[in-house]
């Protein structure tokens, strides 16, 4: 819209110039021609001719302009002699070299602006992505210093197979500590975890997440009990148990708090423990954690972002 307006201005100026030339020519040749009186009220918006004689001449040479316009094919001038004179020209009327030179200048300017703009955008984008990478590296460094999940746990899974932390290198892991006799929190959290894994599974572009459940109650949660328990959740969920010491070691790695409550008559007890879901990346590095307040969507979104960031590095 702006360009057409500019073109309009230029065109008008050139139209004006052309008209002035035509006016001179017309004045010379056809001064004596008279036109009906009602044309005295001609009004020209651009050329400011208001008095009678020139209005007559203006009116007359409009036909000259019309003819030249037809030849050049660019200046659309009203044919009916005048209620008002508003030549509308887009881009160029008049001597060809002047018009072309101006057009060339415009094109050059536009091209230069675009190139400079592209250059600046490229430079900015490069600097921005460098900064993002640096921030990401800093965060990874900080997490390394926190050193959560550094140790190598060695536990037995719910099928009786021995597993260590190394076995899960190369995979994204979602880890939850709990126990099978848990009244409501562990089932809720495991349901949430299963939903997160299922939702991420749907996206084939993303690597698969391995859900793990490590017990904080090894005395009761032996292999068979775990096998029964994990059946109710995601099919890929692996339950892990071991001796008291092995389990405590794994808990220590993740600074998991766990404390068995008093036993009742049946020997039943509840284990108070940290309720967190831990995210571990394929390098075995602890990346993030999610508490009870985080919804399934929030967790899925966070994991997707971590995965994208991981690939970039």
């Amino acid at each position: 819209m702006l360009t057409s307006f500019i073109g309009l201005l230029r065109g008008d100026l050139r139209c004006g110039a052309a008209m002035r030339r035509a006016l001179k020519a017309a004045v010379h040749h056809q001064r004596s021609t008279l036109l009906p009186s009602h044309l005295h009220h001609t009004h020209t918006s651009h050329l400011h001719h208001t008095h009678t004689s020139s209005s007559q001449t203006v009116c007359h040479y409009r036909s000259v302009t019309n003819a030249s316009a037809r030849l050049l094919g660019r200046c659309a001038v009203r044919r009916t002699c005048p209620t008002h004179l508003t030549p509308r020209c887009f881009l160029s009327v008049g001597p060809k070299s002047g018009a072309d030179a101006a057009k060339l200048q415009l094109r050059t300017r536009v091209a230069v602006t675009l190139v400079v703009g592209a250059g600046l955008t490229g430079a900015w984008w490069y600097v921005y992505s460098e900064k993002q990478q640096m921030l990401q590296k800093q965060r990874v460094e900080q997490l390394r210093r926190v050193a959560l999940g550094q140790g190598d746990f060695s536990l037995t899974d719910h099928t009786g197979r021995r597993r260590s932390k190394e076995d899960f290198r190369g995979e994204w892991v979602l880890l939850y500590f709990g126990f099978t006799h848990c009244p409501d929190i562990c089932p809720d959290e495991l349901d949430k975890l299963s939903a997160v894994v299922a939702s991420l599974d749907k996206d084939r572009a993303l690597p698969r997440v391995q859900p793990l459940f490590i017990t904080v109650d090894p005395e009761r949660d032996h292999v068979a009990a775990l096998g029964q328990y994990v059946k109710d959740f995601h099919p890929r969920l692996i339950g892990l148990t071991g001796t008291g010491e092995e389990v405590r070691q794994a808990g220590r790695d993740y600074r998991v708090y766990a404390s068995a409550g008093p036993k009742d008559d049946d020997g039943d007890y509840i284990v108070d423990h940290t309720i967190l879901i831990y995210l571990v990346n394929p390098d075995g590095l602890f990346l993030d954690y999610y508490n009870r307040l985080k919804s399934e969507e929030q967790i899925s979104e966070s994991i997707r972002n971590h995965m994208k960031a991981h690939v970039k590095l």
Binding site: H181, P183, D184, P187, A225, Q228, D266, G267, D268, I270
Partner: protein
Amino acid sequence: MAAPNSAQRKACWGARDDLWKCLDDNKDQTGPCESFQKQFESSCPAQWVKYFAKRRDYLKYKDKMEAEGFSPAEGPKQGS
């Protein structure tokens, strides 16, 4: 004693929800809710019964705090 499986958990939670609804309707009077209480106790392990009772107390307390606000307890009185 094996842990409750998924079906047993759900049965226990259902009984608990029924009991709590009854208590809510009756302004926490245990009298009208005797049958629900018995049902709840038979559906859930003893530990869970105790746990859920404590949980209900906690939730009621939390609602009260949110609704009425609280006044901080006075600290130990300074000497003289």
